[in-house]
Symmetry: none
Subunit: 216 residues, 4 copies
């Protein structure tokens, strides 16, 4: 969130600031330039204010007047893309989970996906950015949680599952595979489907008979 906007909001909603008001166009141009640069591959550590200012057609001071440092600019830029709406789930629990996970497995193909990987290294160091990150991913995690709970209610999923752990086991492999250190052994695999099957003890659902029964 823009520092001035915060200040204005907490101090005086109605009174006009003296002098020339800040240009909303500049705000937008700066945020857009930041996202553009991140999406076009610039790693966060190499994202220079100078480059952002140049691409936004704005003076460096104009950026520093609004954000205290590079990190908070990035936090705001990231927070601004929260709009990306979520797909609506389907009918079968298994199908719904796979549907929800699939875009995570194709992260490198949308804007959100191209920006995220650049930020991951900063998450450890920057709690605010981590917060923004969580705010962005939370709706997706919540959707997963809802489907899992629905599955438990309908008996499609066993009831002793820790929902949070389950969600993490579904999402984390995709993040690691797509964003950090792709494992060549998993390259051709339809990972979202495999993950769901593995978690939900596929055999019971796919063959009608669990592996133990088959082995017995």
């Amino acid at each position: 969130m823009n520092v001035d906007v915060i200040a204005d909001a907490t101090a005086d909603q109605d009174r006009k600031a003296p002098g020339r008001p800040r240009s909303a166009r500049a705000d937008e141009a700066i945020i857009a330039a930041t996202l553009d640069l991140l999406a076009s591959g610039t790693p966060v550590e190499a994202l220079s204010i100078e480059a952002v200012a140049a691409r936004a057609g704005v003076g460096k001071a104009t950026i520093y007047r609004r954000w205290a440092n590079k990190e908070s600019l990035i936090v705001d830029a990231v927070a601004s893309i929260k709009g990306d709406v979520l797909p609506v789930p389907g009918i079968s629990v298994r199908e719904d989970l796979v549907t929800l996970l699939r875009p995570v497995g194709r992260m490198s193909q949308n804007k959100f996906g191209r920006i995220m990987p650049c930020l991951l290294n900063e998450l450890r160091r920057n709690p605010q950015l981590a917060e923004s990150y969580r705010e962005l991913t939370e709706p997706r995690r919540e959707a997963l949680r809802r489907v899992i709970r629905r599955g438990i209610a309908t008996g499609e999923i066993r009831s002793d599952l820790d929902v949070e752990v389950a969600v993490t086991m579904l999402v984390a492999p995709l993040i690691v595979q797509n964003v950090l250190a792709p494992n060549p052994a998993l390259e051709g695999v339809d990972l979202p489907a495999e993950l769901v099957d593995t978690l939900l003890s596929g055999p019971a659902a796919t063959a009608g008979a669990g592996p133990v029964a088959a082995a017995g």
Copy 2:
């Protein structure tokens, strides 16, 4: 890989290079200094060759003579720590898996763990570093695979499990939780144990007959 080693390999394995040979002590000092700086918190992007040279007591040219750039120095430095041996697993499959996963959950407490997080952001961009990373983690993954296969053989684990997917579902959540974006909802949880339980015991509970019972 060291530039000279490359040269030797492509040219002539046996003939000695003319002139004074390169100092092995310098090699070691440079690698050690690099790892020290990484372990002491310096982020990869802020690791300067100048600082490495100073800490190693070495001229900058001595570094540039061996490595073309910062990245390949880091690749070699990382590759050099592969020595960290693995703990030997125990008896019960469930216990063995938890034992193997536990150190991953405590990565921030050993040298390897303090260095790794600094590198993750580079993995996407630098295939060589990614290769080094995989070489380092592969023995740990292989140990997990062996235990899982043993469990399948003894009937403690259902046989339809894709071993690679299972390994990833165990490891990835720990990496994400400890290194990237800790999820506050999982903060107090004994994640290694929860992961193993979620993966292994689920089917047993839903199918009415656990693998242990079947094996008994």
Copy 3:
């Protein structure tokens, strides 16, 4: 000459440059540091921009923004010391000449004298520095010329003398003796007086009538 001054002179004398103007304090600090280092014995070839920047409390870029290289910085630094005023001459032509030459014979004892010798080697290569040098020495040469012309007018000096050649014959031996290659055979000699006597009195002695006698 400062690069900016050049730019202004060739482009537009009146229009202000955009952006923050250059700091006059930095200019002065850089020139002062340069002269300090030269005067304290640093030979021109060992004068490093890095040292100048450090002593001036200035970034290297601030120096390179103003001067393209070390040489032109030195040219400007030298040009800036032209202020050293000249002593006023006395009454007798012979005495006046000796008075004017004496400081040249004691160059190693004043600031100007300690800096000059460091520059001589550069004069051949650097026409701009040679120009600065000439601008600094010209007032002194002009003073000598005036005295010689006065002597010719009053009859104290023979009238066929080429003034420029005479000035050079007085000054060059002192430069060579004090700055370049002292001749041991002239070590104890009061060179300024000897030079004037040799130049002026010679003809008088051979012709039987000294200039003073002629003027008396």
Copy 4:
């Protein structure tokens, strides 16, 4: 003088050193390379041992084994060119002096002349180089002295002249004009002739009457 030769001379003239003797070809190649580089414009301060070694086809250690530093190499290199013989003087004293001075006025056209200017800056700092310089110039000065004394004996030159001062007054202007800081006011002048005329009280010789007499 070569460091080893010194050692041999002071210790034991006859006993041969054990081991492989030093290569005379290397000595010559190094000296020649040094003079080449100096003559081809490289200023003394920019003459790198590395360049000398490269041009001589010799290792750097081969140079440092013989000379303690760059300066003493240059001293020896300069000393090695003393061979340049002097022209023989003519009949008239005035003509002889002009003949002797003329080559000094054309220094930039022979090898000696192209090397000398590079050295002048070092003379102040390096007594050994100054000594070499004096040894090289002394024969020329001595020739001038002899002619001047001959002129005094024959009555062509007045007898009260300090010979050393006179020599300096003839030579120093040429050095300054040709090597250090050429005075534009003297550019078209036949300086050697003018100097001799000015010193020898030209009028007496050219017009038969001294200036004082003419003015009286």
